[in-house]
Symmetry: D4
Subunit: 231 residues, 8 copies
Amino acid sequence: MENFEDLGFSKVDYAREKRQGFPEVIYGEGKTAEQIEIIMGKLIEKHGKVMVTRVDKEKSEHLLRTFPQATYDNLSRILVYGKPEQSFAGEVMVLCAGTSDLFVGEEAALTAEWMGCKVKRLYDVGVAGIDRLLAYRDEITKADVLIVVAGMEGALASVVGGLVERPVIAVPTSIGYGTHFEGVTPLLAMMSSCASGMSVVNIDNGFGAAYQAAMILKLVAEGVHDETSIS
Amino acid sequence: MENFEDLGFSKVDYAREKRQGFPEVIYGEGKTAEQIEIIMGKLIEKHGKVMVTRVDKEKSEHLLRTFPQATYDNLSRILVYGKPEQSFAGEVMVLCAGTSDLFVGEEAALTAEWMGCKVKRLYDVGVAGIDRLLAYRDEITKADVLIVVAGMEGALASVVGGLVERPVIAVPTSIGYGTHFEGVTPLLAMMSSCASGMSVVNIDNGFGAAYQAAMILKLVAEGVHDETSIS
Amino acid sequence: MENFEDLGFSKVDYAREKRQGFPEVIYGEGKTAEQIEIIMGKLIEKHGKVMVTRVDKEKSEHLLRTFPQATYDNLSRILVYGKPEQSFAGEVMVLCAGTSDLFVGEEAALTAEWMGCKVKRLYDVGVAGIDRLLAYRDEITKADVLIVVAGMEGALASVVGGLVERPVIAVPTSIGYGTHFEGVTPLLAMMSSCASGMSVVNIDNGFGAAYQAAMILKLVAEGVHDETSIS
Amino acid sequence: MENFEDLGFSKVDYAREKRQGFPEVIYGEGKTAEQIEIIMGKLIEKHGKVMVTRVDKEKSEHLLRTFPQATYDNLSRILVYGKPEQSFAGEVMVLCAGTSDLFVGEEAALTAEWMGCKVKRLYDVGVAGIDRLLAYRDEITKADVLIVVAGMEGALASVVGGLVERPVIAVPTSIGYGTHFEGVTPLLAMMSSCASGMSVVNIDNGFGAAYQAAMILKLVAEGVHDETSIS
Amino acid sequence: MENFEDLGFSKVDYAREKRQGFPEVIYGEGKTAEQIEIIMGKLIEKHGKVMVTRVDKEKSEHLLRTFPQATYDNLSRILVYGKPEQSFAGEVMVLCAGTSDLFVGEEAALTAEWMGCKVKRLYDVGVAGIDRLLAYRDEITKADVLIVVAGMEGALASVVGGLVERPVIAVPTSIGYGTHFEGVTPLLAMMSSCASGMSVVNIDNGFGAAYQAAMILKLVAEGVHDETSIS
Amino acid sequence: MENFEDLGFSKVDYAREKRQGFPEVIYGEGKTAEQIEIIMGKLIEKHGKVMVTRVDKEKSEHLLRTFPQATYDNLSRILVYGKPEQSFAGEVMVLCAGTSDLFVGEEAALTAEWMGCKVKRLYDVGVAGIDRLLAYRDEITKADVLIVVAGMEGALASVVGGLVERPVIAVPTSIGYGTHFEGVTPLLAMMSSCASGMSVVNIDNGFGAAYQAAMILKLVAEGVHDETSIS
Amino acid sequence: MENFEDLGFSKVDYAREKRQGFPEVIYGEGKTAEQIEIIMGKLIEKHGKVMVTRVDKEKSEHLLRTFPQATYDNLSRILVYGKPEQSFAGEVMVLCAGTSDLFVGEEAALTAEWMGCKVKRLYDVGVAGIDRLLAYRDEITKADVLIVVAGMEGALASVVGGLVERPVIAVPTSIGYGTHFEGVTPLLAMMSSCASGMSVVNIDNGFGAAYQAAMILKLVAEGVHDETSIS
Amino acid sequence: MENFEDLGFSKVDYAREKRQGFPEVIYGEGKTAEQIEIIMGKLIEKHGKVMVTRVDKEKSEHLLRTFPQATYDNLSRILVYGKPEQSFAGEVMVLCAGTSDLFVGEEAALTAEWMGCKVKRLYDVGVAGIDRLLAYRDEITKADVLIVVAGMEGALASVVGGLVERPVIAVPTSIGYGTHFEGVTPLLAMMSSCASGMSVVNIDNGFGAAYQAAMILKLVAEGVHDETSIS
């Protein structure tokens, strides 16, 4: 049983990198600082690096004492130890509709960087002032993969989705009030978008969007298979 | 009791015009052709004209036999008898995101015309191809009141709302599928819009949007009160 | 790029006034006091005045230290600096159903005043005691634009909507319990209202309602366009 | 086992009258004409009369062939055989907001009559034209129990609830569209009503409202217990 | 304007007693202790007594300093000043499904007593142990009006509704977890109940149920009108 | 690949019996009569028998022409070919709240019989007439596994769940109207039940409930394992 | 009245053990420490042992002072006094998808043990790394009853449900975010599972799942009835 | 205005190919056969080919008369005219959980083929029989982009998402019943998936998933930009 290690409360998945191309990332919410600490230790031992998401301030302080080389980002609540070995050609652009959405935008940006991507940030370009967005039209159309982070009604995703010929991954955020329902409304709106070729991830899931973006640039880097066969 | 007439199944509201500026309009859904016929007769007798909304093909044929001077529009399902006496200065622009939303756009346009407004139509300008919309930016900014009709995710309303200094009334439509939930999604999105100064009416309620637009142009035409007083 | 300024976390929209008739208003929720402070500085520099909504007590104290000429209203949580230059003829009436809805009513009233409107307040006139409302019927019918703020089941909007010939903008509030669902119920009820010509804004969005009311009085003040043309 | 009879697919509840004051009423929906026929036969044999609700046209024709003395009402879809023996003092008033709500209003009215109550009908008095309602204020305040039937946003219930000192039972109807959600919106609104002392029954459940109204007049007729005791 | 007094933030409704049979009750939630204090003063001046519901501990302490004769009940969060003048014959029974529902049961019981009713309490008789309920079958069938308070799935209401010939008012409570949705589930269940003649009030609304119960006993006490007439 | 056969549109699962104790059952909805026919042929070839659920009248006629030995039950819409080989000791009791729920009750009963269980049916014992249910208390407490089928508010499940020491599986049905939401309400109610040790299956899923009941009696028949080991 | 004891706020159900096979378990949430203390005292007096679920840290400290022999488990929040007398053959396996779900898994495991079952725990075997699950396939197929605890999308239940011939009880947990809706999503997913013979309990209801599992092993231990009879 | 052509009811978007890499595809639902015919004509004239989705049988017959070279696929309801010019290296795998999901799977497969991708189909591999899926593990891990189509609880997406290092796009389908809510449940489940790097499109939106898959293979084919710049 070399592919994972059973800690009782957790089975650390050492085979993740081989299976999915990237080592296991620890989702910090719902785990105690102690549990995270133990799993971090195991993953650092195995891979020499690790990323933890959704770590609150208090847990981060505990973890930084144990792992002083780690760094913690307040806005995105990401804690990282070590650096990516791989570096993919191409560029992921992260767009944010409003200033309040930045915590999700940075989760996406830092995740993509951690996974080996170059990232461009384009923040506060919500559609209520569409000239701000269109001022960057050239840069937008040049991006290789786009992550659009938006709360409120999430309309930015539809507009961007109609401007480019590259994959767009939309991330609804929990920023809004009333009928926004903590992100349900932009999620539904992005799902129902009139723009083709856009896909959506969970509310505030900047991590997931960046993960798929990195997978896409990884595919570009490694190239497609020559032949596969299913009878 | 001269303000209304009691028909048992209905109390025809003759005072509506004095109270609300326009005579009663008959909402056709859920009423039989016979009931509509009787109420139409009463209102024509009183006001010389009448509009009926949400009239299906079959009922319209019954009513056109009784009132051959009436005209019926298949797309919007509106039946009108007589013409507006008033004609307001200014212009209502009706924008539609997609071809499938036209039945609502036309309900709005015909209602506004019936109430005495001039109407400009700008159809199939959804944000997935934003250049189509921006090609009309001058006309859009010149409109006096704007009605934005959109299904899917309803993003058109937010973009238009950010372009103009005039009141925008958004109408979500039932056109879409899956997470669109028959119009709930664009309604929630329009409610949560990042654009300021936009208000929203019920799903497919082109009539209501046009009604408010006409009230606004009527206010412009009649001017505001000089003084009012509440102790 | 003179139309906006890129602060990284925010792109301040200097063209908003030209485009939408009023300078940008800062939505305070989800922004830090420091972010608001910087954006306020920029907008004051540009326009000589600024309004911030949804500012909690703590942030307001920070901001009042930096901008001692500003004033803060506890009930509506609005902070303003400077005064409106424009003053529109006509009057916006703000009606509140219950005492608990006043925080939204005042957001609407102060916003409308800030944008240059005269405002009349008519508070605690919910329909459970309809004689209280009808005692003011004359004043109500004289108002030029009406904003109806109501929590619970929101029935006040329907009754007022049936009394007047002027535009009514309904604002559901989060005041209620159980099946009220923090404002969803009055919102749905206002959307489904039997009164014609009423439109609705998001839950607790007194700001948005006032913004549209001001746009209407601005249109009255400036008059409609003489001719517009779409081929 | 004399209290009920087991027909396999049904256990006819002969003890209902003793237990609840009125014999079992057959709910016609989801039962075949043949099943209704058999249960009707049993109940007529036992009580000499029976009422069936929610009977569609086709089933009613089948049943009228078997029970030619029965009568069927198209609007309410109620089929009755025999007459009430009891007749309670006092009066139930049934108010309907709109013409389209009459099918529910009549279900309530006919049920109340069948159970031995006198009924007054006041139809098409929705709050959008509140003067129509207030024209009947005297009659309304004199009613002993009130049933308010309303679709759309259901605001009529709140207004009536604030006018009277007698029990009000509200019935939301499925008449409306869009955000009305087939009656959910007026139901939630009635639940959240600002009027005290109002209770609510299921969507379109005119029968249930009338049943409770009759129980109240029955209590008036029979008087309260002198003494009861719980240790 | 003698029917109400305008305090700006509130219009105290002195006509409530005449119109609805009981003086205005103050709903404490969402009002400051100071606002409640002022309104209490006005109502005591007018009626010599007053009840306030949903008063938290902290506000109650403020109010008890101003009105030392008032009494406060921790469980139901009701504060009362003065005593009912009227005393109705008959008895309201309040049933609670579980121990955790008592705060609602007591809101109902104290309200009914305040309004002049005798109350019997039957607590912790949920249907999971139906023999506990049936042990009191005699007392239950003797009650004149029944209020059934239940959280979880609310099944107690259906069982009681099938046992009696008197009006049953069901109150869903917010006690439960998961799919209970803070009371929505028992509310929907009570609405869909297979028992006839039951009506429902809002979640945790013990006050509303008691208010209707008192109206019913008041009707019994005063008797029905002899004749009313609507043309 | 002997465990399944790939038909392109379907991979027939021959290993199901070995893995799950019963051969694959065909879910008829969403499959054409032709597809069912082919899969039936394969499964009959392999197992000598097959059951198909949710087969409408029209498809059943097609299938009965190909497999004249099969039998079809109109009420439950189940089509079976062949007979169970196994026969488990013990008894499954299927209780139905109302006559309209029988189509689900029979799906459960026929499935359990097909899988080798003896079944007792107890129909129309809804809690509105609880004496009908309690008349069978002895039989109920003797059943080995109980399936409770109920629409409306689903309260029968809670009452039965409180009477027995054996596993209860609750099946909500789509029978009801208004706030019943096609079975969502009894499902939520059953989930939130105050009775311990009850589990729930999907709306109208009589098949699933019977499947689990049969698994339980199979476990009784085969006995538990003596030792199992997880390191 | 020997079957229960009336404490006013509670009716302690001494007949539960006879009726349902296990003595009453106290649900700690919504009860004060004092109420729990009194009921515990009564049940210990009667049965010599008691279990309390959903006890928070603070209440547990109060209770441990009164009952020093009791033990409290922090993770599951269960407090127990005394030991089970019965011990059933067979084994309940509790599977958890993720580390964060352990608090529910332990509620299930401790409850099952308290009721007399042997329990095997298999934790952190979510389907994102399916090899971790399949590594235990032998142990899984040998379990007699399986409880699958999963948050997020709950897919583990479907996969396990397809691997075994024994009853599977699925427990959705509140662990997740965004569209997870505090457990609603895995609950709906488990209900809609493609695996046959699986039933579901309320969100986080490890207790309920274990209760049913114990009932199943109790049935195995006691054997089925030889004959039952319903006419 | 060469970028689009205004047909009144539609503005045909000739610039789509330049902007988004593929010419406009016609969404057939909600458009009349006549409208589709006209737009098809315009697009064929411009691009020599066109695809129409969601075309029902009846409209397809009308269109095939006008464009006899077109071909129509009954299962996916796609009508195509002409062939793709581009052909991308790499392979899109389309997995379907059940036979009933094939109509969505084929929409995805045909769309991807039309856009120039090679497609492998792997159908009926739902997780209830996970060995069927794992039998194809090699082929699955070799695919370059994966589209997972699943109704019911949608668990297949999570399992596949955990097996591969390539982008997975999940498509929930409307196939299921009860708590499946016409696809909402698998959509929510896919959104909440424990597998990283998966994104989701609207219910039944095979087209959208294929569109994004094709964009990814197009990016692979064209390679990433060397440098982009945002000031």
